[in-house]
Amino acid sequence: MPGSRSMRLVESALRCYPRRWRSRHGDEAAEIASLLIRDGTPARSVAWSYLMGAARTRLVTGPRRRVSAAVGALLLAAGSLGVSLALLSSPAPANAANVTHSRTAHPRPADVRDGGSRPADPRYGGGRGALDRCDRHDRC
């Protein structure tokens, strides 16, 4: 019989399953764990397998939970996209970050303020020269 410490570890992992799953499989799962540990499988590995199984079971339990998970993921994605767009549209952080590729993609704020009347500075990727370079290099 495996040590009580090993079994405590496995039982902690089994407690992560939903109650309905435990009432159906709990006893057998504990027995399988004890047999596997007796055969030489590390208790950590058995517990980890049950832990991952519990996470998967909780993710796919019932269509309502799946819809909730999908809505949550969409909201999270929309939120992070919104934050990213807000950061990109704000000129101050982009200038502060001194990101080189932003210079080639966008005119300097000074050029925008001047209404584009000032000749573009090729050092900052402005003017036709930059476009020509972009035409020649696929990476642009």
Binding site: E31, S45, G53
Partner: protein
């Protein structure tokens, strides 16, 4: 690539996205009902890999939901499972599909007839 439905080579391969554990479990159950620990031991014997118990239960639940296996009355603490007629059909279709891919692969590697 051959289309099984169009070419009349058996039913659709519902196990394609079910994962390796599901295929191993159905293969193990093909010669009779087994409970969890017996499944792990049998699969270790013929496939040389030990399914984690969490993976096993995940696959058993999925296969049961798909109607490919069914639970038999529990014996003590152990819950035996057996393959259903739908499970037999699904396993056959999947093995046919693997067979086709295998024969093309062997042909292209020049291993056919060796």
């Amino acid at each position: 690539m051959a289309n099984p439905k169009r070419d009349g080579m058996g039913g659709p391969d519902v196990l394609r996205r079910a994962g390796d554990a599901s295929v191993l479990i159905l293969t193990s159950l093909a010669d009779g009902a087994k409970h969890g620990y017996a499944l792990i031991q049998d699969i270790k014997g013929f496939a040389g890999l030990q399914l984690g118990p969490g993976t096993l239960y995940g696959a058993l639940d999925r296969l049961e939901r798909m109607g490919l296996i069914e639970a038999l009355p529990a014996e003590d603490r152990r819950q035996p499972y057996r393959i259903t007629a739908a499970g037999v059909g699904a396993l056959r279709a999947h093995l046919d599909s693997i067979e086709r891919v295998s024969s093309v692969g062997r042909l292209r590697l020049g291993l056919e007839g060796i």
